[in-house]
């Protein structure tokens, strides 16, 4: 199998169409259960997509397919110009360009905040230690917790942990950031501090795909809202249109439930 080499990636970045993430007729099953059905999605550089939908509709599965935390069975996925195949090298190359933030933070509890952030730059990008430290500090300042750098994750609040997780992902200087319900595990008073960081990130032009039910976030930064139900992308529209004038009955029902409170 042909392995794309490092230089191809840079070439891909300079392409004029600038598509960062493309899913073409992606299908996935868990055993007999058809969890993604003919999903098409195209995200261009600098765009922000918010994915929403009822529980179990396949939102997490969709974004986890993009960096091969889940394997799709049919269709094609291209990330940053690299076609996702079964080749391990290829998968790792894509993962280097894709940052991910999880609902449960998934920080490494045995490493300090600083070490969490420098781990991948050091061991994946082979960056010199000094440079990695400086980079980590820069991003910790961006998420406004430089003073926690030498604590362990277990000593931080949920909101702080999630901001560290964002900084950790940013330290790889990813081309696209994936968020899987980043605020769902947080107490209400901590949601805002994480959303603020995400909004800033969006304003700086980061390409983002966020699974979230924070409709305020969707309204203020999303280029498009993707509504999923039962493994299908039911509706995709700019937020203005999506919230005020949903086309599908399923979307209307969902919105009535989410926006009620």
């Amino acid at each position: 199998m042909e392995q794309p080499v490092e230089s191809d990636v840079t070439v891909a970045n300079q392409r004029s169409d600038e598509v960062i993430v493309e899913m073409r007729k992606v299908n996935k099953w868990f055993g007999e259960f058809h969890v993604l059905r003919d999903v098409d999605l195209t995200v261009k550089r600098g765009e922000r997509y918010v994915v929403c939908g009822p529980s179990g509709s396949g939102k997490s599965t969709l974004i986890r397919c993009l960096n091969r935390l889940e394997e799709h069975q049919e269709g094609g996925i291209t990330v940053n110009g690299i076609e996702l195949t079964n080749d391990v090298k290829n998968i790792e190359m894509i993962r280097r360009e894709v940052g991910m933030v999880f609902q449960q933070f998934n920080l490494f509890p045995h490493l300090t905040v600083m070490e969490n952030c420098t781990l991948a730059p050091l061991w994946v990008r082979h960056m010199p230690k000094k440079e990695a430290d400086a980079l980590a500090m820069q991003y910790l300042e961006r998420v406004r917790i430089p003073e926690q750098a030498h604590k362990y994750p277990g000593q931080l609040s949920g909101g702080q942990q999630q901001r560290v997780a964002i900084a950790r992902a940013l330290c790889m200087r990813p081309q696209v950031m994936l968020f899987d319900e980043p605020t769902s595990a947080l107490d209400p008073e901590m949601i805002k501090e994480v959303l603020d960081v995400m909004v800033e990130l969006a304003e700086e032009g980061m390409t983002m795909i966020c699974v979230t039910h924070e409709m305020g976030f969707a309204k203020s930064v999303a280029n498009a809202v993707v509504f999923m139900d039962q493994g299908e992308v039911v509706e995709m529209a700019p937020p203005s249109e999506f919230f005020t004038n949903p086309k599908s009955e399923r979307t209307k029902l969902f919105l009535s439930q989410v926006l009620e409170h």
């Binding site: 280097r96 999880f102 449960q104 998934n106 045995h110 000593q155 790889m172």
Partner: protein
Amino acid sequence: MASFVKNPTPPRSPPLASVGVLGWLRTNLFNGWWNSLLTVLFLALLAWVVPPMLDWLVFNAVFRADSSDECRAADGACWAFVEVKYRLILFGRYPFDEQWRPLVGMLALIAMALASCDRRNWNRRLLFIWAAGLSVFFILMGGGVFGLTSVRTSLWGGLPLTLMLAFIGIAAAFPISILLALGRRSNLPLIRALCVGYIELIRGVPLISLLFMASFMLPLFMPTGVSIDAVLRAQVAIIIFAAAYLAEVIRGGLQALPKGQYEAADALGLGYWKTQQLIILPQALKIAIPPIVNTFIGLFKDTSLVAIVSLTDLVLATRQALGDPEWRQFFIEAYMFIMFIYWIFCYFMSKYSQYLERVLSTTRRA
């Protein structure tokens, strides 16, 4: 509704009966009639048992004797036995005039083990420490170089042999067991089957049978003229056995890690080995410290089984010391002496494991 404002109350000292020695006694030994009864009964038991025990152990004991008759005349323990026989017990049949060599060799092993306990050495330096410690040990024990007379391994014995079997056993079994544990969780069916097969086969048989196999069956499979040293065969059997046990303990630690740790490492693009090395093993091994050390302690004591294949470890050396008809009846003192030696090493391991758990903990609040 009437509004209410409370004035600030200055802090008071806790009630007298809850602090100090009295408070401690009260809350721990005399809270309620049942506990008080137990305390009194226990104190009575101590008063009944401890004085005669001390009499036997210390006050009536014979510490030096020119002949065993002095011991027979006394009511207490005959520590004179240890005084007379300690070199046979500690060094077995190693040539008497050369016994400084096993002594220094043993101290080198102990120094090596202590240096390995220091977390600052948990890097490449550890390899050098072990290379140095083992070189000193084997050169001194075996001789044949630097003007040291050559000493056959069949003459090695006592505590140095026990320590060698235990330390090398632990150090070699540990990395093998990590590979076995990882292999058992591998996605590759062949690797998984091999590891499962190894673990289940070895864990299912007694160490004694492995020692017998290594001693009597292995030579049958060897081409004529090739013979493997008996000490080496026993050492290999111990390593093979301990690795299988330890692998399951480590697998327990691996299973305790949430899936999210693997996913976070994957999402960052760390490969399989770096994920294991940097994320998974540091946490899994930390979780498994108590059972790992438990296995080490078991292994340390299991080395005494090599007596079955005629290696003169600490226990067999003691039995040989008791072969002297004049002192034969003082076996209790003899075994108490080596029990004490085993206990020192095992107790140290236990304390060290508690220390490790404490310093590696990252959950305490700053």
